[in-house]
Symmetry: C2
Subunit: 129 residues, 2 copies
DNA sequence: ATGGGTGCAAAGTGTTTGCAAGTAT
DNA sequence: ATACTTGCAAACACTTTGCACCCAT
């Protein structure tokens, strides 16, 4: 296994993700870090987000087109506004018994499940009237 | 609203999706249709998959990198092998009460939720030994 | 006839990667 | 000293789009 180093860039990227609670995209993180370090490159941001996610330091929400990242690594569900693309955590608790159930039914070794609620946030509902 | 026509290409694309149960990607569908119609283009396949999905004639599974399509339009959950990328339907039944619950908690108007189980299929488990 | 649809190729997105130079350990 | 990282730019994979011609209605 590779030995990962504690580089300034990696630190800045991690801080940038944890500084927000809106599940930013890689590009938003790139822009945030760039405000501090003019030289950072997109490649570095993508590489480090992948490393940090693999390590389990960050987690990511798989959305169509772009993944979103967050500091909260406990298993939980997400809420996605299909109008404005806002993403937030949801209080409904993770149902680990479902993983067991599917494992027994299918013979898969289940690692986890991901649940994303799709809907329209209060602000966007207002705008549509 | 646009008036959609019943073109030969659209018919072939729909048939191609329904002929498989493995949740093919747009490109797999393109290849299948091409076996019948040498002239079909990728653009037409993408355009029609979007139209058919919007109409509710097909549904799609949102996976990172590529969407997958299927004929089954009833709400249901999916199973994704993270080794070989196989996708299948899962028997666990759709929990519509969760949508209600999240709606009450958050003020969102919830349309649906999507759940994808991630794990390793029996075949890939064998290969890893 | 008329407006949606098609094939084609080019343009878009978001992400990864090869390379030479730089740096944490 | 070693080998992981970086910035850069090019390459990638998937999808959308502008256009001129075509065809279902």
């Amino acid at each position: 296994m590779k030995q990962h180093r504690n580089t300034r860039q990696r630190r800045l990227i991690l801080e940038a993700v944890c500084a927000r609670s809106d599940h930013p995209t890689a590009d938003q993180i790139y822009l945030d870090v760039r405000a501090v370090d003019k030289m950072i490159s997109r490649g570095t941001v993508y590489r480090n987000l992948n490393i940090l996610t693999h390590q389990g330091t960050l987690s990511h929400v798989k959305l169509p087109y772009t993944d979103r990242f967050e500091c909260n690594t406990r298993p939980h569900y997400h809420l996605h506004c299909t109008e404005c693309d806002a993403v937030s955590d949801v209080t409904v608790s993770y149902q680990s018994e479902l993983d067991k159930k599917v494992e027994d039914h299918t013979g898969y070794r289940i690692e986890r499940h991901r649940t994303i609620f799709e809907g329209i946030c209060p602000e966007c509902q207002k705008k549509k009237d």
